[in-house]
Amino acid sequence: MAEEVARELRASFKAGRTRPAEWRAAQLRALVRMIEEKEADISAALHADLAKPTMESYLHEISLAKAACKFALKGMNSWVKPEKVPAAITTFPSSAQIVSEPLGVVLIISAWNYPFLLSIDPVIGAIAAGNAVVLKPSEIAPATSSLFAKLLPEYVDNSCIKVVEGGVPETTDLLEQKWDKIFYTGNGTVGRIVMAAAAKHLTPVALELGGKCPVIVDSDVDLHVAVKRIAVGKWGCNNGQACIAPDYIITTKSFAPQLVDSLKRVLERFYGQDPLQSEDLSRIVNSKHFQRLTNLIEDKKVADKIVYGGQADEKQLKIAPTVLLDVPLDSELMTEEIFGPILPILTVEKIEESIDFVNSKTKPLAAYLFTKNKKLQDNFVSNVPAGGMLVNDVALHLANPHLPFGGVGDSGMGSYHGKFSFDCFSHKKAVLIRGFGGEATARYPPYTQEKQKILRGLINGSFIALILALLGFPREKR
């Protein structure tokens, strides 16, 4: 099945169907139409898969997907233009440019937590760059997956853009084929499998993984605003099941009580006295993850550190926002990516220590800092490696199409969003056009002393050497 899909897409690509700007624009416009016409269906699928509140579906998936399409439509004409670059004196006269061309046929494997956005977003980049695409949505979000399988063929060119549904066997089958790029969003374990499979065909990959996104909270902040932003970035993003959601907080021992207090108040205001009944919280995606998360808080090491929440409803697969204080650093809660509504708070004596702590863990996809202290901000930006970072807010940076979105180290490789999506699926071909005007005989053997002098000058960009070379020095004996 995968072989057939690959073969068909390769034939379509070879036939040149995906190259013309009009084709690319038509696909993107079709996607915009699809999002507008089927918004209710998309919301319903996201609700079926994750009990995602309609507002979140709109804010975080639907509107961002539409904005990405429109941004690509607007930018595409300039993105596809060759970029003129200075040629060197060494090759005068010549003109040089960098031409973006599609890689060919690309495989996009999406994730379950933002199943609509994380599928559409890379597909947009692949189409804008002129590739043929196969999308494998996550089987853990089955309603959204079958929605894609049904809808995409109704709107886009099915000979060049395909959906393959399925789980591990189908994905393994796909990974055995040869692609020109593989774009994977998910976890590090599967990320390694994807990269190892790609190695067999020397296929470049982009891996959007996760990590423990830390939030450092200084006492020098507008606490109420900071806490609201943290809360909405954590529980307002799929109930914490987001790669850039805050994973844990670090603050000073002295400030922690105020922080916890403020968190409790904000959480109650957002989700009421009985959060399990709130319509504004996503549920946990499936029972496997539900078990994983409840085990994390039932762990003896941390169970007595819960300061808020802890309620869970297995039937509905709902877990309430849960906050813990001062959990042991070797508990699973502090060694694994949480990806759920649980928020541990760690404390340090001085806020500067938090930077060392963050750096002791693997590089996260996002790191957050709340402070008004400019020195701390500079220290944070200069000394904390992370995919991206935000000061005094959470998660917003992903909505700015001018910022590259991607990880580093364990949080992944490659970036996208905006023009970076286009670049992700392009090959930047170097093109040099020369005339026969400037012939530097100094380049060629036999190598005489004279030639070497001029050659040295030429390579070092010496104008005089250029003139001499152009004038035909050294003179050849004929």
């Binding site: 090759t91 990269m195 020397l202 995919g387 190598y447 050659l455």
Partner: protein
Amino acid sequence: MADAAALGETARELREAYESGRTRSVAWRQAQLRGLLRLLQEKEAEAFRALHDDLGKHHAEAFRDEVGVLVKSANAALRELGRWMAPEKVWVPLIAFPASAQVVPEPLGVVLVFSCWNVPLGLSLEPLIGAVAAGNAVLLKPSELAPSTARFLGDNIGRYMDAAAVKVVQGGPEVGEQLMEHRWDKVLFTGSPRIARMVMAAASRHLTPVALELGGKCPCIFDSIAGARDLRFAVNRVVGAKWSPCAGQACIAIDYVLVEERFLPTLLKMLKSTLKSFFPEADHMARIVNARHFERLRALLKDTSVAASVVHGGSMDAKNLYIEPTILLNPPLDSAIMTEEIFGPLLPIITVKKIEDSVAFVRARPKPLAIYAFTGNASLRRRIEEETSSGSLVFNDAVVQYAIDALPFGGVGESGFGQYHGKYSFEMFSHRKAVMKRGYLIELMLRYPPWDESKVALMRHLYRFDYFSFVLRFLGLRR
């Protein structure tokens, strides 16, 4: 030769050096680049000697292709370093006011560079320039097949650069394998696809990003050139791009030529005469690197129909590892010489009925590191540009793209991925970190739950950056 424990120690030392922060400052990076320049200047004679030992390279070739290019690149890096390191401010939507956003380049950490034997100095030091400019600690593993150059690097790098953060390790494939057991923040590999697969597979275990600089069969499409002078220059360039770079043992050397049947006699005649004038003596062309590659090249001509297609040259001197510049005419397309990368001084010429047919010929084959086309025909040029794909594409010349800083150097498809040279070297070893900063001045309540329809409606306006409608609705002046 390093053993596993010593390698582990080296990796640990480099990690420590990086974590200490010493490689981050502008001063450190400049010092490394200046050190490299001093090395190339003071030890130029030794470098030439090593390259001559390893490959029989004439020192003019060694300067043109390796030392000279490196001096240019290091100087350019010193000049541009400030600009490359500077954060780039980017646009932020008004809705996020007050806010600022920028992209901040940061070093990846500790990087590993595997070099290759054919341009052993250049393929070691060009990446090194980028890696130190980007603020990384670096481990360089030169190819053991160019042992004099490897030794030259081992002896001198530590003396001219920061020995705690820039190291050289010697050894062959086993050392390479052992190195890949460790975790690096990036690995650059230059070499063959076979080993590249192993490097990438090993890197996947640690989620280490890789860049692979491979090769391929770089074709040269030779259209009929009007004008005797232009024709002469064109042939000069073809000969200079096949046999002059390391006797054809170069990833961007011309591998084979495509020419129209009727133009073949002219081309062949000029190739022969140019060869004679460029290489009056053997020592102006490099030798074959070792016996294994010599035998590999000899075997390419074993097939009787391939041997029968030799129209010039063909003599081989196993003792001196010297193969004469050799031209073949239309060897069978399924023979090894037409399916494998030649990497040697053998040039097959394939004739086509119409020069336009060469586009389909090239398209049917794996994407090479470079495609060359000598033509004045604008429509052929456009077809080649649009219908073929390669790392780079050069019209009316060959190989020179290597020396142009502004052009990214790297492959696509089977010729690899990842690009460097100039600022691309800096970017290859950097992470572009997105940094956004906000203030507390303005707070948009509609961001937060509990949700209701009016918040959704407001959001719709905002996301369209329709601030006017947003304000109206916000003030209750619009339903």
